[in-house]
Amino acid sequence: MQKTFDIAVVGGGLVGMAIAFGLAKRGKRVVVCDGEDNALRAARGNFGLVWVQGKGANCVNYARWSLHSADAWQGFADELLARSGVSIGFCRPGGFNIAQSREELASKAEAMQRLHLAEPRLKFEVLESKELAQRLPAVGPHAAGAIYSPNDGHVSPLYTLRALFAAYERVGGEYAPNANVTEINPTSGSFRLRVANGHTLEAGRVVLAAGLGNRTLAPQVGLRAPVKPLRGQILVTERVRPFLAHPTIYVRQTVEGSVLVGDSAEDVGFNDGVTPDVLADIARRAIAPFPLLEHVRVVRAWGALRVMTPDGLPIYEESASHPGAYLATCHSGVTLAAAHCDTVAPWILGGDRPALLDTFYANRFAV
């Protein structure tokens, strides 16, 4: 069996689906080649922050790119609701980054000040403990303060993925499950993809959005994706009455009432399990600023593998040797989803490459 498409998107996570929806709604014949159920899926294990503050401390363009997407998120969420009927729980009330000591607060404030000087649209406030207690009453007496930024929000990542699938299929996109791409052969003017179920697909363009899978796929079309797994573990509690109206970088309450507590960062290869020591540490670090969580029951824990480049920044690139082959990889699939749908997709369709993305070529690793 052989099928022909305008564009094949490799990877059905948040990155791939946001781009695929952006392409399909602009009238292209798109297929998403997704992996098996047991593929490593960062999109199904993440925390759900649409977060700007503190990002790009060493790269202001990353902060600008995150802000660009966060600013587009409300429109993106509205469009997803209109096209899919799925409410994804997006809100952007501003986020808090809580500090446990005065020194920690001072160093966070200094980093934010540097970012704000470079880009005045990156807004923040420094709150001492007394002011923090007024703004976020759930915080206990031991927090030294917090950075607040109106740029931050949160969303249900699972509903977002579900809405993307529904919206994508409604605009005519095709989805191929259990279609792990094993080989990409550039032919004259198009690409032939061999998938694990024995089928072959042909597409005029190909977008690599396969997360950690991009490592082996990218070289087949003259691209580089030096990404590595970085594990994060998360706890989720029983549902409780709303007590936290803002997301924090570490603790957030979902619209349904569950409390998500994360994160951690471990280099453990491709192991996406959970460990008691890390979970206990996560719980302790959540209870310290939020003592009222002490007796709340945990109902689940999970691990997921982030997709990390050596400098933590994304890569967006069209192959020089095989034009029409694109790579998109990042570890902020939620925050950047709006930009992937409405800024990256038009570029892949032949529009100008957004100037902000000039920071994100893979040749920065070649030095």
């Binding site: 009453p137 759930a138 029983e238 549902r239 409780v240 009455r241 029951r297």
Partner: protein, 102 residues
């Protein structure tokens, strides 16, 4: 058909009884029942309302799977009534929405 006819305690179970309090009302129930069964026997079909939609829920599976029998038992919220045996003097409260922690 009124559903209360469906709930009959078997003669086998009618040995000792205990006193439990459901929303501060005293009930004498067979000592071998689970809390969820005791609520049903006492005529309380709904033991909680849901956190999101505020809809009533009644014990459904009676074997620890459905989580529709969540109750506050002796001050501890969100306990599974079907997985907890009654005990003399037990204080049971039906839950209204999600537990409050603030």
């Amino acid at each position: 058909m009124p559903t209360d006819l469906l709930f009959k305690t078997l003669p086998l179970a009618q040995q000792t009884t205990v006193r439990i309090y459901i929303d501060e009302q005293m009930h004498e129930v067979p000592g071998t029942l689970s809390v969820a069964a005791a609520l049903l026997a006492a005529g309380h079909l709904a033991c909680r309302t849901t956190p999101v939609g505020d809809n009533e829920r009644a014990p459904f599976c009676m074997m620890g799977v459905c989580f529709d029998c969540l109750l506050e038992i002796d001050g501890v919220p969100n306990r599974q009534g079907c997985m907890t045996l009654v005990r003399d003097g037990m204080q049971v409260r039906r839950m209204q929405g999600a537990r409050s922690i603030a």
